[in-house]
Each structure stands twice: as structure tokens, then as C-alpha cells.
Symmetry: C2
DNA sequence: CACGCTGTTCCGTATAACGGAACAGCAAGA
DNA sequence: TCTTGCTGTTCCGTTATACGGAACAGCGTG
């Protein structure tokens, strides 16, 4: 296994991201490495400007802005997905007047890469880069419904291991829901991830039919009851389709 | 210098962020390292899931979502700045009906860490994690105006080296403007960074008086002429003050 | 005052990372 | 077609480097 120190450094950054601000000993304990190695990794990362220490008596480490600068470029990697999606998302917001999200998948999670706020005063708020379970969100279900069988099975294996815990849906029920999403072309989430947030999602397919992302409309339950979700699903599906067309034209 | 391979890997990621998608040879050339080292670094980063290759004939590398997942946590490092700022930013948007930005400084740049879209149809659009010169933005001038003398001088040295190039302001004119900003408490930018974008900014000070961030109101010149900038500056300054109070209360 | 915890430094050794060289595959040019 | 110049990839020997144990200093608690 090459570049052990790099693997350590990356795990250190992930540990900091999850538990910042955090000290040397806690990092070493969490990763099962010696304090010496953790300390060396931290000072190296700090020297490169990716993390910084609160200069208290007991140094606690946090990610620095450089990490954001580099990480934020990751959203541009999907063949200009965001640039193509944003104008369509603008249209969708004009039609629905609600918050529009653009998400991509990372294993068993979806990550928010763009957001357009709803127009009305009461509105959902999710930070960019935010992460949620692929099993509890409409975007996750939308993407999973179009995944190739092998990729889908890999995700479902994760669910089988965790079903029941943490409000995870049962394996069989989830399978049935994915089938239904595949048939209808859109997914609905009624407060399954965050209480008081309803959402409807549609998968964005690239030229080869792979679901690279999902668009969603989110709002509070009062403005987005089940019936309304079904009614606006047409617009969401159409927006996803238009973004897909743009992707094929671009790349 | 310890952990050379880590330093290489981080530089590789920065190079990818700046020029993705990019191949092995180009990375090696840009960093002045051997193709072997670049290749090893890339495969290690890919193994850890931070970058991924387009599986074309000629492998081109891009940042993966994992980089965003970690990087996005960097915005939480400033003692809960965003959580405190967002509600105040909501108020400011309600008052002005324009786009509200929250930015922090990284050396001679400001980085956008949160954005609330304006209500009106024509509106500025800046991606989160986006970077702009501290000398050409209202946010940059607002933050610089409250920097301790040493930090300010370090930045001004950068300006002295680059003054004239790239639409950079002259050293003396910029000094005068910073003095004016310090006196008035807010900064204005009339299309100095992006054409057709006017903005007004105020610095957010922590408990020790250090300018940790800036809030801005941005819009198109028609809705934000110079006179209007001065009129709404009161609201921007007050928003920045309220966020500062929240910071002091929190930590 | 000892104990447990911080973070930090030193050091010997095992190993891992370096770059040169060689190879395969593709594209443009002669 | 055959060359030239670029890709990316693999192998290998040597050197330098990253590892963890042990020891140290500083602080708060029992």
C-alpha cells in the first residue's frame, strides 16, 4: 500500500471535518495511530495551510479556508453540471416558488451541491456540502431508482446491514418504493429525513443513462402535502430531463 | 521538512482544483516532480476517494465529492459563524430584497461561504467557495479596514507588488479608500470586481475586534446606484454588528 | 503530591517514497 | 509506413523518510 502518510493525512482531515475542533490525542485515538504520527500529520497539514490551530493552551485543530477553496471546485467536476442546472433550477423555482436543491451521490449519501432559496418567508435551509442518507431522502431514492443493478445492489447491501437502526426503512419496503419510483419517474419524501420538510425529486441522467444527480423541490408540509407533491412532480421531472439534455449537448 | 508525500499530495489536489480535468504528465510538469511521483500520488488520492479519473483512454483526474464533503466543513470552523450569521442575513434580505453574501478572508482573497439569493428576478449569482481579490471587492475592503496593522501591511505588500496589473488599484488610492472605509464603517464596490455588480459591505468583528468576515448586499447597478449604497449601508453595518454580538455571546 | 491527561521532542530502525529507465499505446507528421 | 513525441504505467535499487516507543513539560483533578 503506497503513500501511507498521505492516507493518514486524508483520514486526519476527515476526522477533523467530523469532530472539529479536535486535539492531537483524540485524532490519534480515533484513527488508531501513534500520537507522534498524528502530530506530524497535523503540523504538515497546517504548514500547507489546510488546517489551523486555535492558539489556546491546548491546541485544537480546525479546517481552514483552503480546504473549502479546493473542495468547492469538486462541484465543477461533473462536466459543468452546475452551470447547466442552475438556469433550469431558476425556472423551476419561478414555477413552484419553493426551494430547489441539486444533489449528487457519494456511496450511500447524497451531497448538496447547489441551492436556490424559495421565495416565501418560511423556507427550508440546508448548507451546501451538507450530507444526508440516500435511503431517507427523495433525491437518494430518485438516483437509486436509475442506478445500474450492480451499483444499486452495493447500496442495498449497506441498507441491509443498517435496516431498522436510525429510522432506516426496511429492506423490502425500500425495494418496493424504488420500484415505484422507477415506474413513475419521481420520488417523494414526507418528513423522512428532517421533520417538517417534504420534498419531491427527479433523477438527472447523463448520455449513458446514468443518474449523475437529482433535482428536488423542498418545503414545509403545509405548502407541500402529498397531493401537491404529485401535482408538481411533472415540473420536477421536466426540469431533470432538460438538465439531462443540456449535459448531453455539452459533453 | 516532514511528510513530503503529503505536501506533494496536497499540491496535486490544488493543481487538480485549478485545472481539472488534468492528466498525470501535466500535474508532474506543473509541480516539478517526476511522473512516477505524480502517478503514485494520484492513485493514492483516488484510492482514498478524494479524486476520480474519467475512464477515457487517456485518464483525466477531477476532484470527487469527498473533497467537497470535507471542504464544506471548513465554514463551520469559525466558531459557528454561519449559524449565527444566517438569521441576520435573512433579516437583511427582507429589508433590502437583494442578494446577501457572507465572506471570509484567505490571505489576499475573500471566499464566499454563504449566500442568500435576492428576491427579484434579475440577480447576481456567485458559487459558494468562490474566490475574489481582497482589493477589488467591498468585502475585502471592509475586512482590510479593521485588520491589525501588521496583517494589513502584509496584504498591502501584495498590492504593492501587483498594483497596476489586472485592474488592481494604485497603492496610494487604495490606502486612502481603506482610511475612508475605516472612518465610515462600510465599503462600496461599483463594478470593480465583476461588471454589472454593485455591492456594499461591512466587517464582522469578533470579541477581540478582529474582522473575521464581512456581509455584503449585492445587486445590479440599476437597483444599487451609489446613492442607494449609502442609504442601505446603515442596514448592512447593523447586520454586521448584530452578527458580531452573536459571536461574542457564543464563544 | 501523585495521577492522568494534555501536547511536544528525540531517536533508532525498518520501510516506504523517490526518480531514472524502460515499456506500451495512441496521434500527428514526414 | 515508419518516425517522432507525446500519453500513461510498471519495475527497481538506493536513499531518505516516516514510523512508534519512550521520555519530557505543563496543567487540572482526585
Amino acid at each position: 500500500m503506497p503513500n501511507q502518510s498521505v492516507l493518514v493525512a486524508l483520514r486526519v482531515m476527515e476526522e477533523i471535518a467530523a469532530h472539529q475542533p479536535i486535539g492531537v490525542s483524540a485524532v490519534a485515538r480515533a484513527l488508531g495511530i501513534s500520537k507522534t504520527t498524528a502530530h506530524r500529520s497535523l503540523t504538515t497539514l497546517a504548514g500547507a495551510g489546510w488546517i489551523s490551530a486555535s492558539n489556546d493552551r491546548q491546541a485544537l485543530w480546525s479546517l481552514s479556508v483552503r480546504a473549502l477553496l479546493v473542495g468547492s471546485r469538486a462541484v465543477e467536476s461533473h462536466a459543468g453540471l452546475r452551470g447547466i442546472a442552475v438556469p433550469v433550477m431558476e425556472d423551476l423555482r419561478r414555477t413552484t416558488e419553493e426551494t430547489i436543491h441539486l444533489l449528487v451521490r457519494d456511496r450511500a449519501h447524497v451531497v448538496l451541491i447547489e441551492r436556490l432559496d424559495g421565495i416565501k418567508p418560511v423556507r427550508v435551509f440546508n448548507p451546501l456540502g451538507g450530507r444526508a442518507s440516500v435511503f431517507k431522502t427523495s433525491a437518494g431514492k430518485a438516483i437509486l431508482s436509475r442506478l445500474p443493478p450492480d451499483d444499486l445492489q452495493a447500496c442495498l447491501d449497506v441498507l441491509r446491514a443498517r435496516a431498522g437502526q436510525d429510522d432506516m426503512p426496511s429492506y423490502d419496503a425500500f425495494m418496493r418504493e424504488i420500484d415505484e419510483v422507477r415506474r413513475s419517474g419521481f420520488a417523494i419524501n414526507l418528513a423522512g429525513n428532517q421533520p417538517d420538510v417534504h420534498a419531491v425529486a427527479a433523477p438527472i441522467l447523463d448520455g449513458s443513462g446514468y443518474p449523475v444527480a437529482a433535482v428536488t423541490v423542498s418545503s414545509v408540509p403545509e405548502r407541500l402535502p402529498k397531493a401537491t407533491c404529485h401535482r408538481i412532480a411533472t415540473f420536477v421531472v421536466d426540469a431533470a430531463r432538460r438538465i439531462g439534455v443540456g449535459l448531453r449537448a455539452a459533453g
